[in-house]
């Protein structure tokens, strides 16, 4: 009950931030429109709506990480979190309370992306529902990264680090370009990271390539568990250090 209560507070904090709608919802749609236009003008397959929409839905989760990390870092800097930590709510429960609304926002973001993509020619099928389900582990992973940043860094540092994450993910995520253009070396490094697998899983769901989903999802789930566990450890250590 206390986890849900605090999750409600975190949702309100983000929802009542005027920039949240712009960055979390309007920006991904704007990117979709621009990149979709590039696709139509160039005919590049990477920019076809069936590949672009799921890629962008995953990429947009990086902005959710930014908001999550900023919220947690900001709370850490204020005594408000001191009050919450003094309550019976456990450290793990606290981080789950941050994660729940962020994951929900990430999935809502995916819905907005797919709806916008339907106006650009993406066919409405049951596969889109599957794609949203497949987005969930990726959302948990990005949220975990955001919470790890928020646990370890100050508010201003989180902004810089999240910007770095967004830029880095742009290149290694394969969201709108084939990893082959990076060359074998960089592509191999990118395949060790979860970002391209998250995009691959979402694309496989949208196109109905169900056999390809499992392997990609395992990468995302593994990173999600590891990152979230690490954020609990780091947060607990930082908060106990006083």
């Amino acid at each position: 009950m206390s986890v849900l209560a605090f999750a409600g507070r975190n949702l309100k904090e983000i929802a009542r931030d005027p920039s949240a709608f712009l960055i979390l919802m309007a920006l991904p749609v704007g990117l979709l429109l621009m990149l979709g236009t590039i696709g139509r003008n160039t005919g590049l397959s990477d920019f076809e709506i069936e590949a672009l929409a799921p890629g962008l839905a995953v990429f947009s989760l990086a902005f959710v990480a930014l908001f999550g990390g900023t919220l947690l870092a900001g709370d850490r800097a204020s005594s408000f979190l001191t009050r919450v930590l003094a309550s019976p709510l456990s450290t793990t429960g606290l981080l789950v309370a941050y994660a729940l609304p962020l994951v929900a926002l990430g999935l809502a973001q995916g819905v907005v992306c797919f709806v916008a993509a339907m106006f650009m020619g993406l066919e409405l099928t049951a596969n889109l529902l599957l794609a949203l389900v497949v987005l969930a582990p990726s959302a948990v992973m990005f949220v975990g990264i955001g919470l790890l940043l928020g646990s370890a860094l100050s508010s201003s540092q989180v902004g810089a680090a999240a910007s770095g994450l967004i830029t880095f993910a742009t290149f290694v995520g394969g969201y709108w370009m084939d990893l082959a253009v990076l060359g074998d070396g960089f592509a191999a490094v990118a395949r060790m990271l979860p970002f391209v697998h998250a995009a691959d899983a979402a694309r496989a769901a949208v196109t109905g390539d169900f056999g390809s989903i499992g392997g990609s999802l395992l990468w995302c789930a593994g990173y999600a568990i590891a990152v979230f566990a690490l954020s609990v450890v780091v947060f607990r250590r930082r908060s106990r250090a006083g």
Binding site: M1, S2, F80, R83, S87, P88, R240, A241, G242
Partner: protein, 269 residues
């Protein structure tokens, strides 16, 4: 009368502070047993042992770096002691921290409100963090807002409140959970004299029902509210007792002189 401290709420005309806390039949509310905490080479709390009775209004005084906040953080379970133990309401800090957290609360020095939540939402959130249902949290929030005269600001965002109202809200957040022990860190910091007196009157109402541990730099505040006061320096206990006890032990005419004598660097070891 010579040496008479300034009157505050609850003081007898003769200047004596009548003990108002409950007899220690249920065991002390807080019992420190050689509690120690270090941050690297700096010893913040040094082998501290003392007791606080149930329902007592207990003051913690000391200069900056005396160890007051560190002690409160340990007792609230926010940081672990390096050695020693403490029992809060009979429960060990080392083994029963979660159980303790259900029965204590604190109001930090920074008012620490949730800026974008309304006054009512903030109070309900704290109640629910401590296990209250939605309906119970709403009911308690109404009671607290009424008793702290925040009812007309129920829907206002916490960040829109003046300093005095924010302090009242902070106090409300500490009391809405009906704690057996509440820690108040500089509850009147930054308030004007009228707001400070108002808050003192509210705090005095807690006597006998809630064990209050008050940390403050304001000697007048400690004199006016506290049944007993512990004076710390460099993490060590320099003296504990009622104001009259400190005056007697130091031979000082005023509590300020007694405080300065007890925290004198040369009087140290």
């Amino acid at each position: 009368m010579a040496g008479q401290a300034t009157h505050g709420p609850g003081r007898r005309p003769g200047g004596e502070r009548a003990p108002t806390f409950l007899p220690d039949t249920a065991g002390p509310a807080i019992e420190l047993d050689h509690l120690t905490k270090s941050y690297g080479k700096r010893v913040a709390v040094d082998d501290l042992s003392l007791t606080v009775g149930r329902g007592e209004f207990f003051g913690l005084l000391g200069s900056n770096g005396a160890g007051k906040s560190t002690l409160v953080r340990m007792l609230c379970g926010l940081t672990a002691p390096a050695s020693g133990d403490a029992r809060v309401l009979g429960m060990s800090l080392r083994t029963d921290a979660t159980a303790i957290s259900r029965r204590v609360n604190l109001s930090p020095q920074e008012t620490a409100v949730a800026a974008t939540l309304s006054v009512a939402e903030t109070l309900e959130l704290v109640a629910r963090l401590y296990g209250a249902s939605r309906a119970e949290a709403r009911s308690r929030a109404l009671d607290v807002m009424e008793s702290l005269r925040l009812g007309d600001r129920a829907r206002d965002r916490a960040k829109s409140l003046s300093g005095g109202l924010e302090r009242r809200l902070s106090l409300g957040m500490a009391l809405i959970t009906k704690p057996d022990v509440v820690f108040l860190d500089e509850p009147t910091l930054g308030l004007d004299v009228r707001s400070r007196r108002d808050l003192w009157a509210l705090l005095a109402g807690l006597k006998g029902t809630t064990t209050v541990v008050l940390t403050t730099h304001q000697l007048e505040e400690a004199e006016s509210l506290c049944d007993r006061i512990a004076i710390l320096r460099d993490g060590r206990l320099r003296g504990v007792g009622a104001v009259a006890d400190h005056l007697a032990s130091t031979g000082a005419a005023t509590f300020e002189d007694a405080f300065l004598a007890l925290t004198d660097e040369e009087a140290g070891a």
